[in-house]
Symmetry: C2
Subunit: 169 residues, 2 copies
């Protein structure tokens, strides 16, 4: 088993203020909350073999915060994590990392894609039944060998407020 | 929408030490962790219209801790929450509370039943894909009107360690 953490980007600037959606950055609040989430993950002793991020600014910034908090020494951009990306590209990518299938990974991306990816890994179909807040986390246990899709299990789904609790200021 | 919290009982005494499974109480550690979970729910301002509990001692004790922490003024025993209980009995029970369908509820019971109930409410079938630790929580949003099974969404799934984080001692 290895753990896959699907992490949604933090709160980003409004659509209207940027010409291109992919350029929207985290707001100060988004930056702050994402740092708190990252710090809590660190305190929980979570470590990622690698952080894979959507190429969009708000996701990349989120991934960089996770990395700078010490959750991983590696960060790669995976174009398939952009909105409407194809999970098969990640499965192919992951298939080339078989030797590290006992490691934990983070995928940083967008909704509804992350929820749909998780649903596909767990039930082999997407149904929009997971509610994933900004800077929220989905935790999935994936089998070390064999098919991942349809053979993974959900061990965590949290909004920042349930993770940070009273720590949040 | 109302929120349904399915809460697994805390850590209980070993099977060998009690003649009847249903008499096994929480251990001191189970009691302590359950109280910490309850306190965190209280701090998150979660309130239940009613706590429904399995009749088994370890579940009743868990439900009583939730109640004594101030999460609800009402606690009822629902025999269907005992191991291998039929979710239809809860659906029937809940159908008689239509006027309170905007309220939040807690169901305290056992695994794999709670996970299976949750899966049935969300996907209309049970598949054992949710990992629910002792004193762990499943949070589901159920529609205010119409069919619940197949029309609910998952907003939270947590083990105590992810909820308590550094608060746990």
């Amino acid at each position: 088993m290895s753990n896959l953490y699907l992490i949604r980007h933090g709160i980003a600037a409004d659509r209207g203020t940027y010409q291109k959606d992919e350029q929207r950055p985290l707001t100060p609040e988004g930056d702050r909350k994402t740092r708190q989430v990252a710090l809590t993950l660190k305190q929980l002793k979570i470590q990622f073999h690698c952080i894979l991020s959507s190429p969009l600014v708000r996701a990349r910034q989120t991934a960089e915060i996770l990395q700078s908090t010490g959750l991983s020494s590696r960060l790669e951009i995976l174009p398939a994590l952009a909105p409407d990306g194809d999970i098969q590209q990640w499965l192919d990518w992951y298939g080339n990392h078989d030797k590290t299938r006992d490691k934990d990974w983070a995928l940083v991306g967008h909704q509804p894609d992350l929820g749909n990816w998780a649903e596909y890994l767990i039930w082999q179909k997407s149904a929009d039944v997971l509610i994933v807040k900004k800077a929220g986390i989905i935790g999935i246990k994936i089998p070390k060998q064999g098919m991942i899709q349809g053979n993974s299990r959900l061990f965590w789904l949290t909004a920042p407020k349930f993770l940070l609790g009273l720590n949040e200021r």
